[in-house]
């Protein structure tokens, strides 16, 4: 593997506690999924996958059309749509809105998209507090770590880690019973929900025909984030689109089962715009921030753009023998596992973290469990070949660049050039002859030269060189005056 951080891998592999945590968590998720999609529980499973794949393919191929439809429906329901090219633009928008509304506290529900653009850091630099409210994400925010897994973000931490962390950061007694730890988090976060000015969420799906954001969760933090504060901002990648609300049946049947083995997660919220006339609660303002951040680049390749079908269920991570050994934090970006290995190089450029597509045994488990049938191994192979050719190009290009730089330097230093050139002509007779190496070839070469009646041209490296011609030709003429 080119440039892989193998030392970091070794460290993870040598940490037996961590290995056990990764192994048992992924094992449990594998088992839950397997029983949820078993033939007797979900006889339609394979058809659902085909259907989901077709819907995603269709939507990604007609993204422009559905984005426009989505936008006009969000606006029709009283919301606003903001298109952002980069993460900085997302932060700028949220900051300017927060400033306008005098907001000082933002609550957030789990969102990989905001992780992707380092939203919290960008906002907190401007002295606005942002609080993660999903229990796992809250723990990670306190620990200043990024998610270890798309679905189970704090998978690598034990109850003892959490106990220490809470006591250090929240000033509570060291509590090691997860149930009590949850109560501590609930109480701390309840305060934040009730005082927050803005709620920021991601989106699991964007429904074009409804202008709606769909959020899938178990804890209720996304519901609180979108119900308690007066402003709701959803930040979503443009690939989250599906055409119709009715298509949701297909995806919701797959997402929960693939992620945690649940037929439906505890809460599924279908949100379209701010609260309507007569409603007692709900946000007064609703913004949908649509993020590109490199996604449109992926659209160009008809094969690789299927990477955008991903619904972030995490099943490929759980089933990947590489992820299960090296864990989440050894991947360079927030998206880890097989899906991370195919999208990271496409977002960041193929030569940065070039080892990623090679971090796979190509066993095919990821493709087998992917609910939207992304051909991950095929894309890994394609990316491998792209890495290899890019490296070759880069190698060649590097040498060429170096050669030309030396040449340019020489040409702008005439004194040195002249002395090197005259040295060359003086040394030329004693230089080894350059030419065909083997005896046969030499014989052929000599014969050819003799036949032409010429002596070997290699002796002819000029004893005078062209650099001196102008002086001789122009003898008697002053270079200062030039031709008159």
């Amino acid at each position: 593997m080119p440039d892989a951080p193998t030392q970091a891998f070794q460290q993870t592999i040598a940490d037996s506690r961590l290995q056990l945590a990764i192994y048992s968590a992924t094992r449990r998720l594998i088992d839950h999924r397997a029983s949820a999609v078993a033939q007797d529980r979900l006889p339609d499973y394979q058809n659902l996958r085909d259907h989901a794949n077709r819907i995603k393919k269709h939507t990604i191929e007609h993204l422009d059309y559905y984005l426009e439809q989505l936008e006009s429906n969000v606006v029709a329901h009283g919301g606003q749509v903001v298109f952002c090219r980069t993460g900085d633009e997302v932060a700028d928008f949220v900051l300017s809105l927060a400033k306008e509304r005098g907001a000082s506290l933002i609550v957030k529900s789990k969102s990989m998209t905001t992780e992707e653009v380092h939203f919290n850091e960008a906002i907190e630099r401007h002295h606005i507090e942002t609080v993660e409210t999903d229990l796992g994400e809250y723990i990670l925010q306190l620990a200043h770590q990024r998610p270890y897994h798309i679905v189970a973000p704090a998978l690598h931490l034990t109850r003892y880690d959490v106990g220490e962390l809470f006591s250090k950061t929240l000033g509570v007694p060291n509590e090691t019973v997860p149930e009590n730890q949850t109560k501590i988090a609930r109480a701390a976060l309840r305060e934040k929900f009730l005082h927050a000015d803005i709620g920021v969420t991601g989106a699991n799906f964007l429904v074009a025909d409804s202008g709606a954001v769909v959020l899938v969760e178990n804890e209720g933090n996304a519901r609180l984030t979108t119900s308690a504060p007066k402003i709701h901002i959803a930040v979503a990648g443009i690939e989250k689109l599906i055409p119709r609300a009715q298509d949701l049946a297909v995806f919701l049947n797959l997402l929960g089962r693939s992620a945690t083995g649940q037929p439906l997660t505890v809460y599924t919220s279908f949100l379209s715009g701010p609260r309507r006339e007569g409603e007692i609660d709900g946000p007064d303002e609703f913004y949908l921030v649509l993020l590109d951040n490199g996604r449109t680049k992926l659209l160009r390749d008809p094969e690789k753009r299927q990477s955008l079908y991903c619904i972030r269920c995490g099943a490929c991570l759980n089933h990947c023998p590489v992820y299960r050994k090296i864990g989440g934090h050894n991947y360079p970006w927030v998206y880890s596992g097989p899906i991370g290995a195919i999208i990271t190089p496409q977002f960041h450029g193929i030569t940065r973290d070039a080892w990623l597509p090679f971090a796979s045994s190509l066993c095919g488990a990821c493709a087998e469990v992917c609910p939207v049938k992304i051909e991950i191994p095929k894309l890994l192979l394609k990316l491998r070949s792209e890495v290899t050719s890019a490296k070759q190009r880069e190698g060649l290009g590097g040498l060429e660049r170096l050669g030309f730089r030396a040449w340019a330097w020489l040409m702008t230093h005439p004194r040195i050039y002249r002395s090197l050139a005259s040295l060359g002509s003086k040394l030329s007779p004693s230089l080894p002859k350059i030419g065909p190496a083997s005896a046969n070839c030499r014989a052929w070469h000599q014969k050819a030269s003799t036949n032409c009646g010429k002596k070997d041209r290699r002796d002819d490296i000029a004893r005078t060189n062209s650099r001196r011609y102008p002086n001789r030709i122009g003898a008697g003429r002053s270079p200062q005056t030039g031709p008159s």
Partner: protein
């Protein structure tokens, strides 16, 4: 799926998730079956007419008729139990479907530690597919449709299942057969 089995299936599936379901025949039997659950608790109820039909809003421990956001919020923070109706329920998953409206506020089923929903039998559907076939465009009717499938839960610490994180840790449903 046999429509006659919806009540039973809904109850079974909700109980698999550690919810609890009751079945009564007529609206006037509802209050009677909830005496134990409500006793000694502060309750807030939504403005759904069905709760009136069931006689729940006349109980002394129930506060209802909210029109003001701040008042509703404070009442929900203090309450032990939130009582709502449900617009639909899904038998296959034990799911309650809530469409927010002037009759149904969002926080009543969310802030109190217990959520109780009264559901007319006529509102039971088979599953998600039937729900989305019945209301293909939820956005046309409401700004927020929430599917609630059991009590709030997490498994974020060592994959250990814990109920009642941010939403209610206890969920009760009463199906009223003749409604």
């Amino acid at each position: 799926m046999d429509r006659n089995l919806y009540t039973q299936l809904f109850g079974q599936n909700l109980e698999k998730l550690a919810g609890k379901s009751f079945v009564v025949q007529t609206p006037d039997q509802v209050a009677g079956c909830l005496v134990d659950l409500l006793s000694g608790k502060r309750a807030v109820a939504s403005n759904a007419p069905f709760l009136d039909d069931c006689g729940l809003t006349r109980l002394p421990e129930v506060r209802t008729g909210f029109r003001d956001r701040e008042e509703l919020r404070q009442a929900c923070i203090a309450a032990d139990i939130g009582i709502t109706s449900a617009d639909y329920a899904l038998a296959e998953t034990g799911t309650m479907v809530m469409l927010s409206s002037p009759q149904e506020a969002r926080l009543i089923s969310l802030l109190p530690p217990i959520h109780l929903a009264l559901i007319p039998r006529s509102r039971l559907l088979a599953n998600l597919d039937e729900l989305l076939a019945t209301i293909p465009k939820p956005a046309g009717q409401t700004s927020s449709m929430v599917l609630i499938t059991g009590p709030s839960r997490t498994a974020d610490i060592e994959q250990i299942l814990i109920r009642g994180v941010h939403g209610p840790g206890e969920v009760y449903a009463v199906i009223v057969e003749n409604a």
